[in-house]
């Protein structure tokens, strides 16, 4: 039996989802039986996926009452924004947890289009929709009982640090649960934390540094392939086989888990240390590999890359330099 350490008050922990798929919250549960260690060291004071705490309960907390908040999901509507600001006020340490909070993530791909186009597709033209009166969600609606409210859907998706100050970033889609545990245990044991603004739970290296596939220094290819168009030999670096792998521009920390599963890296751990724009780095690396000096041949090779914007910024469009498409 462990001895009770009475002198150390339990940490207060909160987990919140903004524009998220739920995977990040599940990754917190994925610490499995270690959750008991977490609960031994911390009280979960707010966690919508698992607890019934209400927003008004959070509003009633004194400022900086929560020790650590893991905010997952992007900021895409007024509710996400309101709670991000509220939790910032109530928390000592705010962690952007997972790709969406970190860089905008998959929901951030909506920055290729507009709110108007999304509403049209979802509420008018999608095959399963019957909406002859073209009724769209309203933020306010009057009924006999009073006024009903819905959050306002924004035109643009933002990462968490584009809305509030963030102390740490824990990348991944979702983050590896082991990384979360390591970071949590650091905090719980009162170890000195890295300077605010740091990426935690990941490495300073790139995926390529950790990848065991056979690679040469000078990669050269005549054209690119989608993974389904080629038979992977299971041994050679994906890029050298002409399959786009985000390894060179992506931070290590996941344990190269996609590549170990014979799928190229898609970049969920975000840009490597000191890289401003993840896609720019990747674009540079990919273009340089094209094995030709002839303008026409180069154009042909570029044509074989179907969707450079979506591929190079799959998890990072809102955090990229251009932030959204002009539409």
């Amino acid at each position: 039996m462990k001895e009770e350490t009475v002198q150390k008050p339990k940490l207060k922990l909160a987990v919140y989802w903004g524009a998220a798929c739920g995977g990040c919250c599940v990754s917190v549960l994925d610490v499995h039986e270690k959750l008991l260690d977490v609960i031994a060291a911390a009280d979960l004071v707010f966690w919508p996926i698992a607890l019934d705490t209400k927003y008004k309960d959070v509003e009633a907390m004194p400022d900086k009452y929560i020790d650590v908040t893991l905010y997952n999901g992007a900021v895409r509507n007024s509710e996400n924004e309101h709670i991000a600001k509220l939790l910032r006020k109530k928390s000592k340490v705010l962690v952007a947890y997972g790709s969406c909070a970190h860089l905008g993530g998959i929901p951030g791909l909506a920055n290729f289009t507009t709110k108007e186009a999304i509403f049209k597709r979802v509420y008018e033209t999608s095959e399963s929709t019957v909406n002859p009166d073209k009724i769209l969600p309203q933020t306010h609606f009057e009924v006999d009982e009073g006024i009903l409210e819905l959050p306002e859907f924004y035109n643009d998706v933002r990462s968490l640090n584009q809305v509030v100050d963030v102390d740490y970033y824990l990348p991944g889609c979702p983050p590896q649960s082991e990384r979360l545990l390591e970071v949590f245990m650091l905090i719980a044991t009162g170890a000195t934390l890295p300077p605010p603004g740091s990426v935690v739970g990941a490495s300073e290296k790139t995926q390529c540094d950790e990848c065991k596939r056979v690679k040469t220094e000078n990669k050269k290819v005549k054209r690119f392939y989608r993974p389904i168009d080629i038979k992977d030999d299971g041994v050679t670096c994906f890029l050298e086989q002409g399959v786009i792998c985000m390894g060179p521009a992506t931070r290590a920390g996941c344990g190269v888990r996609c590549i170990e599963g014979n799928a190229p890296c898609r970049g969920c751990y975000g840009p490597a240390e000191a890289v401003i724009d993840p896609g720019a780095k990747m674009l540079s690396a990919i273009a340089t590999m094209i094995d030709s000096n002839d303008e026409k041949e180069i154009e042909k090779a570029v044509e074989t890359i179907d969707d450079p914007a979506g591929t190079f910024y799959r998890f990072s469009l809102p955090a990229s330099i251009l932030r959204r498409a002009l539409v």
Partner: protein, 142 residues
């Protein structure tokens, strides 16, 4: 008010910048719309430089390097050409007119060609009108 485009130009040190210098020392007249940034080689132009230029308000971006075969570092300009083609595809997806990004080879003796290039590019960008990138990025989600 007349639209005065801003064009950020990355010129390689060994050929294109010298070419631009020649245009100057020969007192050739050309449009005052470019903001020249000297780089050692066109192969040094990281896509980040191009995106940042647009993000900070450039209406056009011009990259100039040595003619094929003449790059001081052997193949920097070929690397630049490959990146340029892929960047064009990317910025088109981002809703930026591809004509706003232009690549041209200018040698140290081509002062006249440089002056003409600046004039013609300025005209093209004038026709396109102001770039929206900066304004849109700065008013995001409001």
């Amino acid at each position: 008010m007349e639209f005065k485009p801003t064009i950020v130009a990355f010129l390689c040190n060994w050929c294109s910048y010298t070419g631009a210098d020649l245009a100057g020392t020969s007192r050739m007249k050309y449009k005052p719309n470019i903001r020249v940034i000297r780089v050692m080689c066109s192969g040094r132009v990281d896509p980040t430089f191009v995106y940042k230029s647009f993000r900070e308000g450039a209406d056009g971006v011009l990259i100039c390097g040595c003619h094929p075969g003449d790059c001081h570092y052997q193949e920097g300009n070929y690397k630049c050409l490959r990146r340029f083609k892929l960047m064009k595809k990317y910025i088109t997806q981002m809703g930026i007119e591809p004509e706003r990004l232009h690549l041209e080879w200018i040698s140290a003796s081509e002062g006249k060609q440089f002056a003409e290039l600046v004039d013609s590019m300025t005209e093209r960008i004038k026709e396109l009108g102001p770039s929206q990138v900066k304004q849109v990025a700065e008013t995001l989600a409001i």
